[in-house]
C-alpha cells in the first residue's frame, strides 16, 4: 500500500470537494452514474489513499449510498476472475461471522451480506472449505436466495445472501485465497472506517449545533460541563480513529493496521452515538430529526467486518502470537 501513487494537494482538495458534492446531492443509482462519469474506479486504481478517504467520508457525512464499496472489495480479486469485476459483487460474512460459509466439500451452506450491490449476476464469497479458506463464485441459479435487508438502517443498500446446499465454482484457493481475503477485508475495513467516521462527523455536528442553540436554565446547554465533556469525548474518539485510518496506509503491517482502524472507528461510532444522542435529547429521538439515520448507519457498519467489541480480541491475539508490540509507523 505504501507504493501507491498519490496526487498533489490541489488535485486532492478538488477531488474531495467534487466527491462530497456528488455524495451530498445524489444518492443511489444517480450517484452511481455520476461516480462512473467522474471515473471513480480509475481514481481508485491509481490513487486509493486519496480516493477512498474522500468518497467514503463523504458518503458517511451525507448518509448516501453508492456501489463503490464493491469497487474497493473487488480490486484485490480482479486478477483471479474469469469475468470482469463489473459482473460481480463481493459477499461479506454475516454479522458476527468470520466467513460467509462452510463446506465439507459436498454441501455448502452460506449466509452473508452484500453492501451496495450492483446489478451483477455473480457473487464472490470467502468460505471455509474443509477448514481451508477458499473463494467461491455463485450465481442466482446456484441455489442461493437473496433478500433486500430492511433492518436498523433501511437506506443502507444491503442484501442478504443465503443458501443451504449451494453449487459453487472455486475461484481462488490455497495461500492465495488467504492473501486475497486479507487484502479484501483490509480494504473493506478502511473504506467502512471512513464511512463510519463521516457519519460520526455528522452526528457530532448535529449535536454541537444543538448544544450552541438550545437554551435551558437561561444559557446554551453547550456551556454546561456535562454536555461539553460528552462532545469532547466524541471528538477525541473521532480524532483517534481518523489518525489510525490515515496511518494505516503507511503501516508496515497493513492487516493489523486495518483491524485497528476499523475497531477504533467502531468505537468512535459507539461513543458519538451515545453522547450525541444524549445531548440532542428528545428531538434526536424523533424520526423527523436526521440524527437517527447517522446513528443507524454508523452502528450497522460497525458490525460489518468486525465490530469494536469483536476486534480487540483479534488484535490482542495477534500481538500475543507475534510476541511483540508493533510500532506500525515510525517518525
Amino acid at each position: 500500500m505504501t507504493e501507491t501513487q498519490t496526487i498533489d494537494a490541489a488535485e486532492r482538495a478538488l477531488m474531495a470537494e467534487t466527491l462530497s458534492g456528488l455524495a451530498e446531492d445524489l444518492d443511489g443509482p444517480e450517484l452511481v452514474a455520476a461516480l462512473d462519469a467522474f471515473g471513480f474506479a480509475d481514481l481508485l486504481a491509481e490513487a486509493p489513499r486519496d480516493a477512498v478517504p474522500a468518497l467514503f467520508t463523504a458518503l458517511g457525512r451525507a448518509g448516501s449510498m453508492s456501489t463503490s464499496l464493491q469497487d474497493v472489495l473487488l480490486q484485490p480479486l480482479a486478477e483471479y476472475l474469469p469475468v470482469s469485476t463489473t459482473e460481480c459483487n463481493v459477499v461479506l460474512p454475516g454479522i458476527g461471522a468470520d466467513l460467509v460459509g462452510t463446506t465439507d466439500g459436498h454441501v455448502l451452506a452460506l449466509r452473508g451480506l452484500v453492501i451496495g450491490a450492483r446489478p451483477a449476476p455473480t457473487f464472490l464469497a470467502p468460505v471455509a472449505m474443509r477448514g481451508e479458506l477458499a473463494w467461491v463464485g455463485l450465481q442466482e441459479f446456484s441455489g442461493i436466495a437473496t433478500r433486500r435487508v430492511e433492518g436498523l438502517d433501511p437506506a443502507l443498500a444491503m442484501t442478504e445472501v443465503t443458501g443451504v446446499d449451494v453449487a459453487a465454482d472455486l475461484v481462488v484457493t490455497g495461500e492465495r485465497a488467504v492473501a486475497v481475503w486479507d487484502a479484501v477485508a483490509t480494504a473493506g475495513r478502511l473504506a467502512l472506517g471512513y464511512q463510519i467516521l463521516g457519519a460520526v462527523g455528522a452526528m457530532i455536528d448535529l449535536a454541537v449545533d444543538h448544544a450552541r442553540s438550545r437554551v435551558q436554565f437561561g444559557r446554551p446547554i453547550g456551556s454546561f460541563q456535562a454536555v461539553r465533556n460528552r462532545l469532547a469525548d466524541a471528538h477525541v474518539a473521532r480524532e483517534g480513529a481518523a489518525a489510525a485510518l490515515a496511518s494505516a496506509w503507511d503501516a508496515d503491517d497493513a492487516h493489523l493496521a486495518g483491524l485497528l482502524a476499523k475497531s477504533l472507528a467502531g468505537r468512535a461510532a459507539r461513543i458519538a452515538a451515545t453522547h450525541c444522542q444524549q445531548v440532542l435529547a428528545g428531538i434526536g429521538f424523533t424520526a423527523e430529526h436526521p440524527f437517527h439515520r447517522f446513528l443507524a448507519r454508523a452502528l450497522v457498519l460497525d458490525s460489518v467486518l468486525g465490530s469494536a467489541t469483536e476486534l480487540p480480541e483479534v488484535i490482542g491475539a495477534q500481538l500475543i502470537a507475534a510476541g511483540s508490540i508493533p510500532r506500525l509507523v515510525d517518525l
Partner: protein
C-alpha cells in the same frame, strides 16, 4: 542529520555500549528518585559524549542542530528498552525548550550544556496550594528589589525540586488573572528557597512543596517579557506534547510488551487489544503533532486531544497489567512487582498532571468544537 540515519545510529550505539546501559528498572531502587536520577545522570553523560544527546537542539546553546524530532526518536529508542525511566527522561524536555527560547542568551549558553550532560536537573514551579487547574489565580509574588526581584509564595507538586539545580517559577508581577504573571529562572540554592518532599501514593518522593521566602532573583533571570509569563507557561505545556509524549508512548508499549507472556485466554487477549488500540490511536495522532513540531510549529489546542488520549492509554495499559499479573500489583513484594506497583500508581495521575483531562476537554469543547464557554 536525517531521522532514519539518526535512529540507526542510536540503535547501533545502544548495541555497542549495551553492557554499560543496564535497564533503568534494574539499576535503581524502585522507591528512590535519587537512585533514578543517578542512573539518568550516568546515561545522559554517555549520550552527551557520544553526541546523541545534543542532536535536535540548536548549536547556539550547545546542541548539534537538526529537527526536534531527533529528540523524540532518542527518547523512544531509550524508553522502549527501559534504558532510562520515562519521567527522569522528560525533565530536560519539559523546561529546556522554554529556557532556550526565553532565557538571556549568555545565561542559556552557560547552563544548557550542563542540563544536556545531566549535571543539572530543573523543576517547574507552577501549581500552588490554591491554584491547580485555575493556574491564573496563583498568589506567589515577585516584587522589585533594587535591580532584581524578591519572590514570596509557595509552589506545590514541584517534581524533583529537592534534586533540582534550578526552577522555573511563575510569579505575579502585575494585576489579577493570567495577565500580570512573569516567569523567572531561579537557582534552587538561593537563600529563602526550601523544597520539602511529599510522597506519592506509591511511596515515592516524587514531588515537593517548595516555599519562597524573600528569595532574591537577579533581573537577568526574568524569562521573556515582564508580565508575559503566561506565554512561557503555555509554551512549556505545549512542549510537553512533543518528544515527551512520544517517549512516554514508547514506555507504555514496552510495558504492554512485558504482559504478552501473561496473556492467554480470549478475555486477556481482548483486554490487551483494547489497551493497544488506545495506544495506537494516541501514537497515530501524536505522529502528526511530532511532524508539526519538526517543522517548527508549536502545538495549539489540538494537542489537548493528544493529552487526553495518552492519559487514557496510560491508565488502560496499567489496568491491563493489574488484571493480567494476577495479584502481583496488589500482594507481591518482589522488586519486579514493586516496580509494576509504582508504575501502576503513577498511571493514576496521568489524567491529572500537565493539565487535567477535564481542563483538556474544556479546551476541546471551546477551541475545537466552538461550544460557548461556561458562564
Amino acid at each position: 542529520m536525517e531521522v532514519r540515519e539518526f535512529r540507526a545510529g542510536v540503535r547501533a550505539w545502544i548495541d555497542e555500549v549495551g553492557e554499560s546501559l543496564v535497564p533503568a528498572i534494574e539499576d535503581q531502587s524502585v522507591e528512590s528518585v535519587a537512585a533514578q536520577l543517578n542512573h539518568q545522570r550516568r546515561v545522559q553523560r554517555l549520550l552527551y559524549d557520544a553526541g546523541w544527546m545534543r542532536w535536535g537542539w540548536p548549536a547556539r546553546i550547545g546542541g548539534l542542530g537538526g529537527s526536534p524530532i531527533l529528540r523524540a526518536v532518542l527518547g523512544e529508542e531509550l524508553t522502549c528498552r527501559a534504558l532510562v525511566h520515562t519521567t527522569s527522561w522528560s525533565m530536560h524536555e519539559v523546561l529546556g525548550p522554554a529556557v532556550a527560547e526565553f532565557g538571556r542568551p549568555d545565561i542559556v549558553e552557560d547552563i544548557f550544556p550542563r542540563l544536556l550532560r545531566g549535571e543539572e536537573f530543573w523543576c517547574q514551579g507552577f501549581s500552588e496550594p490554591d491554584a491547580g487547574s485555575d493556574l491564573g489565580s496563583m498568589r506567589t509574588t515577585a516584587r522589585r528589589h533594587g535591580d532584581g526581584w524578591v519572590i514570596n509564595g509557595e509552589k506545590l507538586w514541584t517534581s524533583w525540586a529537592h534534586h533540582a539545580t534550578r526552577c522555573i517559577v511563575l510569579a505575579r508581577t502585575g494585576g489579577t488573572g493570567s495577565r500580570g504573571i512573569s516567569a523567572f529562572l531561579v537557582d534552587m540554592d538561593t537563600p529563602g528557597v526550601t523544597a520539602s518532599p511529599l510522597e506519592t501514593m506509591a511511596g515515592v518522593d516524587e514531588f515537593c512543596s517548595t516555599s519562597f521566602v524573600d528569595a532574591e532573583v537577579p533581573a537577568e533571570r526574568l524569562l521573556g517579557e515582564l508580565d508575559a509569563g503566561w506565554r512561557v507557561a503555555q509554551f512549556i505545556l505545549s512542549c510537553e506534547r512533543g518528544p515527551i509524549f512520544w517517549q512516554r508512548g514508547a514506555w507504555l508499549a514496552h510495558h504492554l510488551g512485558l504482559l504478552l507472556d501473561a496473556a492467554g485466554d480470549g478475555r486477556s487477549a481482548s483486554a490487551l487489544g483494547e489497551a493497544y488500540q488506545l495506544l495506537w490511536a494516541f501514537r497515530a495522532t501524536s505522529k502528526s503533532t511530532q511532524d508539526r513540531i519538526g517543522t517548527g510549529d508549536l502545538p495549539g489546542p489540538e494537542a489537548s486531544v493528544d493529552k487526553i488520549m495518552i492519559a487514557a492509554a496510560d491508565q488502560a495499559v496499567f489496568d491491563v497489567a493489574r488484571d493480567l499479573l494476577r495479584g502481583d500489583i496488589e500482594t507481591d513484594d518482589t522488586a519486579r512487582s514493586r516496580a509494576w506497583r509504582r508504575e501502576w500508581a503513577y498511571s493514576r495521575a496521568a489524567t491529572i498532571y500537565g493539565g487535567t483531562s477535564e481542563i483538556q476537554k474544556d479546551i476541546v469543547a471551546s477551541r475545537l468544537l466552538g461550544l460557548p464557554r461556561s458562564a
